[in-house]
Amino acid sequence: MQVNLNNINRDEAFRYMGHKGGEIPQSIISIADECEQKLLENISPKYIYKIFDITPSQEGIIVENTPLVFKGRDIAEHLQGCEKCVLMCATLSSGADRVIRQYEASGMEKAVVADCLASSAIEQVCNIAEAEIQKAIGDYNYTWRFSAGYGDFPLEIQKDFLTVLDAQRRIGLNITDSLILIPRKSVTAVMGVSKNEIAKGKRGCGCCNMREICNFRKRGTHCGF
């Protein structure tokens, strides 16, 4: 599925850049204008998803008809009470990587701004994707998006995750041996689906296993999780 972005959420991007309030100088606004424009011209945001039945087991949550078993306490908690789950992945496409790479060669300040704008953009794409997916699947209850690397949900799952979605062929999304998604501005996520109402899982730093090493926390901010 193709997603059209007309603008990028700058407040979010500035927050990623470590902005803690106060006026942003015109010099930075102009850079953000240029970078946003360049990104929007060069990205081709896309997402794909599939829906699966899930079964809890000793080993973890079994995703039926796939080799996937979701391990870890946090993903189990996240999917508690769900009969199905949606596996989705989204990418801004390699155009974003190229823009950032070009700026890295010509001026690091633009590279940093473009990088954070792109991070903000992929979140927007995921939000749009989530809404469209829920609309397409219909009248169920959904959990929020849970990604590999959150809590104790292992990053290693992403390889099979992408294979199951055929992500390389369908949206050009790859993963390196070090488990880095390429194109870089990409996301994989799991959403629980249930006929019944889902207890709203607690979100925030308290339930995040990254809390000790989180850069947002180091800066006294928050990732929004």
Binding site: G18, S106, E109, V112, I180
Partner: protein, 794 residues
């Protein structure tokens, strides 16, 4: 066996039929998502023979063996080897073909790892992976590369096939509706590059249905004369049910529409079954193949940009160390960033193509050329002109170039013709032919014309197409030989009109030795353009030169409605506030992120002030102030880097000054920075680098995904006492630890600082780092401490 003859015989048929999907058939027979389909070649051969037979019965002339993903990388955790699975796959297909004329294709898909610069796989590694598959598939009749999205990866595959077999090659790439592949490759670039490499058929497969692929086939049909292959999906999949939406009959009908576009080879991809192939073959009965008869224009390309030489195009000449001290220094210091900056500056100036020459005594030119080409094509999208006097260097560059380049150059000397032309042919490039030979440069236009003709004849005799030969009639210095200028112009005119070749000319030499050179040069350029010059090689940063070309394009009607001209000059006023610089000083420029003004003010200051005074009294205090404000939260990251960027521009001016005066710049110490093995997040490392350079350190940037050993070797070789390592992933922290261990094991006399999002001071200590830097600013403080406290001699 003569594979080519067998294939040619098949191509005599009106149309050639391929098979349909393999994956779809296997899934219908119970293959689970995530399982390796090629394993079935050995574990369930009967099933594969059966599927192949169904396609043969449906009329397939070529069937694809079940070998798509059988590469070293994808089979890493598999119980079978590449050789086993490919051999078995081909054997199954051959068995199904018994008693028929059907050919078997070794089917090869993408490796599953992206190549540099987006990914980490090198071009050479990709070549090796493909080579292994090609050799394992020696029993196949044809080699097919399909579902390719990266032209660079495909080029490595085609070279592997050409150099390790004598089989016909079919290439199909996967495009999106925006006419580009996932990696940004365009249809024109695909056609120019692959036809140049000498493949036998090209086309499209997968991603979309035949209706959606129509406009892409249409575009392809204008860029090639090769038979076109079309292997679409059965329409588009439903996102929820995953079912495709086109029936076999509809599929055949949609395929019929592409016959006038020159499609000769038909098949099906995801979602298609023998029924689709049967219907398509039924439709083809009674239809006539319509071969293409395009006049392919003179053009060169990168993977994402094609430059058609149907009007003057500017070749930027600045990536060349000749006569440039600062450039030579950069080459000797392996400073690729300097070259990248030269490239970007020229593109902003108006260059359409960039000449790349890195020849300098004392460096390994081939190695530097490859690194420069790889770095450039990762950042800029304009095509490159590969410039060297050494054929071996040209070949190294031709191999790793992604697209169709120009080779600079061949000349009329026998030695040159024999060494260079075969390379041009093999790698499908265009070539610059210089009008000189064993006897030097002929004085007259006629003499040069004769050499041009000789080059043309020799090139076409080995199959280089006329449109790929660009003649350089050579420009001599008018102050030394006044009559020569007119001879050059006459020669250009004669070559252009009588031989019908494109012409290229480096014009800067014309004015050597005269005052106000640019007046003579740009007037000569205008005269040359009027005489038929297509490719001026100039310094595009000189506004008058680029302006001449732009004006010419307006005056002769190439630039319709003067749109490009107005775009270039219409908004000039608002763009350059530099006029105001009288009222500002360097400190102000630094604080407010005014790059151009900063550089200009530094130049002015150098007339009256010692460079070291500028550094110590203005630049460093401004950076310190900015750093303190960043620490206190008064400014945030982009502002800090913006100021650092201005300072970088100022330092560049000072470095140029040192290069000119021969003074030695003072280094505060050498520092290595690297993003560790397996990690490719290098933005943080690059920020650190800019700041460290600002403070006067010599930074050796080893890049990203850096081997442990390279860090050690570099530290020892360059006697470096501070190493900065960056990692952004929990999965790559282990590489950081290993690099540190190796540094310690080799007793490298250095301190190690580490940084990156997932690091903590405790973890840094645990893995043996000496310092943890929480941000780029802190890495500068650490550097200061290390060099003052531990290595004061530096």
């Amino acid at each position: 066996m003569d594979f080519k003859a067998k294939f040619e015989k098949l191509m005599q048929k009106e149309f050639v039929s391929l098979d349909g999907a393999m994956g779809t058939m296997l899934q219908a027979r119970g293959l689970k998502m995530g399982e390796t389909p090629e394993v079935l070649n050995i574990e369930n051969p009967e099933m594969l023979v059966q599927i192949h037979k169904e396609y043969i019965e449906a009329g397939a002339d070529i069937i694809y063996a079940n070998t798509f993903g059988a590469n070293r990388y994808k089979l890493e955790h598999c119980d079978y080897t590449v050789n086993q699975l490919i051999k078995a796959g081909i054997e199954n297909a051959k068995k199904a073909c018994e008693g028929t004329d059907t050919l078997v294709a070794l089917d090869i898909g993408p490796i599953g790892q992206l190549l540099e610069p987006t990914g980490t796989l090198t071009f050479e590694q990709a070549y090796d992976i493909y080579k292994e598959q090609i050799i394992a598939g020696s029993e196949a009749d044809v080699i097919v590369f399909e579902t390719m999205t990266d032209l660079y990866e495909l080029k490595s595959a085609v070279l592997a096939a050409k150099e390790n077999s004598n089989k016909p090659i079919i290439c199909t790439m996967t495009f999106e509706e925006n006419m580009r592949t996932f990696t940004g490759c365009g249809v024109d670039s695909m056609a120019l590059t692959l036809e140049g490499l000498g493949v036998d058929a090209i086309g499209l497969n997968c991603s979309l249905g035949p209706a959606e692929l129509y406009p892409i086939v249409e575009k392809l049909s204008k860029w090639t004369n090769l038979p076109i292959v079309l292997k679409p999906n059965a329409g588009l999949p439903d996102p929820v049910t995953n079912e495709y939406n086109v029936t076999p009959k509809e599929f055949a009908k949609l395929m019929q529409k592409t016959i006038p576009l020159g499609v000769k080879i038909f098949g099906g991809c995801c979602g298609t079954t023998p029924e689709f192939i049967k219907e398509t073959n039924a439709m083809l009965k009674g239809e006539k193949y319509q071969p293409l008869n395009n006049i392919i224009p003179s053009a060169c390309c990168s993977a994402s940009k094609t430059v058609v030489i149907n009007r003057p195009r500017i070749i930027g000449e600045r990536i060349n160390p000749t006569g440039k001290k600062r450039f030579k220094e950069a080459l000797l210091a392996n400073d690729i960033d300097y070259i990248l900056n030269q490239a970007i500056e020229q593109i902003h100036g108006g260059a359409d193509i960039l000449d790349v020459n890195v020849g300098l005594p004392g460096i390994d030119e081939g190695d530097m050329m490859c690194r420069a080409v790889k770095a450039l094509q990762g950042v800029v999208d304009v095509p490159l002109q590969l410039d060297s006097t050494i054929p071996a260097v040209l070949e190294q560059a031709l191999r790793v170039y992604n697209g169709k380049p120009i080779v600079n150059s061949v000349n009329g000397e026998e030695k040159s013709l024999q060494a260079v032309l075969p390379l041009v042919k093999k790698y499908g490039a265009a070539v610059v032919g210089l009008c000189l030979d064993e006897n030097g440069i002929p004085k007259t236009a006629e003499g040069r014309f004769e050499i041009a003709k000789k080059i043309l004849d020799r090139a076409t005799s080995i199959g280089i197409k006329k449109e790929n030969i660009f003649i350089d009639c050579l420009c001599l210095t008018v102050s030394a030989e006044q009559d020569a200028a007119i001879e050059t112009l006459k020669a250009i005119h004669k070559v252009k009109t009588e031989l019908g070749l494109k012409t290229v000319l480096g014009v800067s030499n014309i004015s050597f030795g005269l005052p106000e050179r640019v007046i003579v040069t740009h007037n000569f350029l205008t005269m040359a353009l009027a005489n038929g010059l297509d490719l001026p090689i100039i310094n595009p940063n000189v506004a008058d030169m680029t302006g001449s070309v732009r004006a010419y394009n307006v005056l002769v009607g190439h630039d319709k409605n003067s749109i490009e001209y107005v775009n270039a000059y219409g908004n000039k006023k608002s763009e350059n506030p530099a006029e105001k610089s009288e009222n500002i000083d360097l400190a102000y420029a630094l604080e407010n992120g005014l790059k151009a003004e900063g550089a200009k003010l530094t130049e002015q200051l150098l007339e009256t002030t010692e460079p070291m005074n500028i550094i110590n009294n203005i630049l460093i205090p401004a950076l310190d102030k900015c750093g303190a404000e960043f620490e206190s939260g008064k400014i945030f990251l982009p502002q800090l880097i913006l100021t650092a960027g201005v300072a970088q521009g100022c330092f560049e001016v000072i470095k140029n000054h040192f290069a000119k005066t021969g003074e030695k710049s003072v280094s505060k110490g050498k520092i290595i920075v690297a993003t560790v093995k397996g990690d490719i997040h290098d933005i943080g490392k690059n920020i650190v680098k800019v700041l460290l350079e600002n403070y006067g350190y010599d930074v050796i940037d080893l890049g990203k995904d850096v081997d442990y050993q390279s860090v050690v070797d570099c530290a020892i070789e360059n006697n470096v006492h501070l190493v900065g390592l960056s990692a952004l992933m929990t999965t790559t922290l282990v590489s950081m630890e290993k690099t540190i261990q190796l540094l310690h094991k080799n007793n490298v006399d250095c301190k190690i600082m580490v940084g990156g999002a997932v690091l903590t001071p405790e973890y840094a200590e645990q893995i043996g780092a000496d310092y943890y830097a929480k941000d780029a600013k802190e890495s500068c403080d650490i550097a200061k401490e290390v060099f003052e406290k531990f290595y004061p001699a530096n």
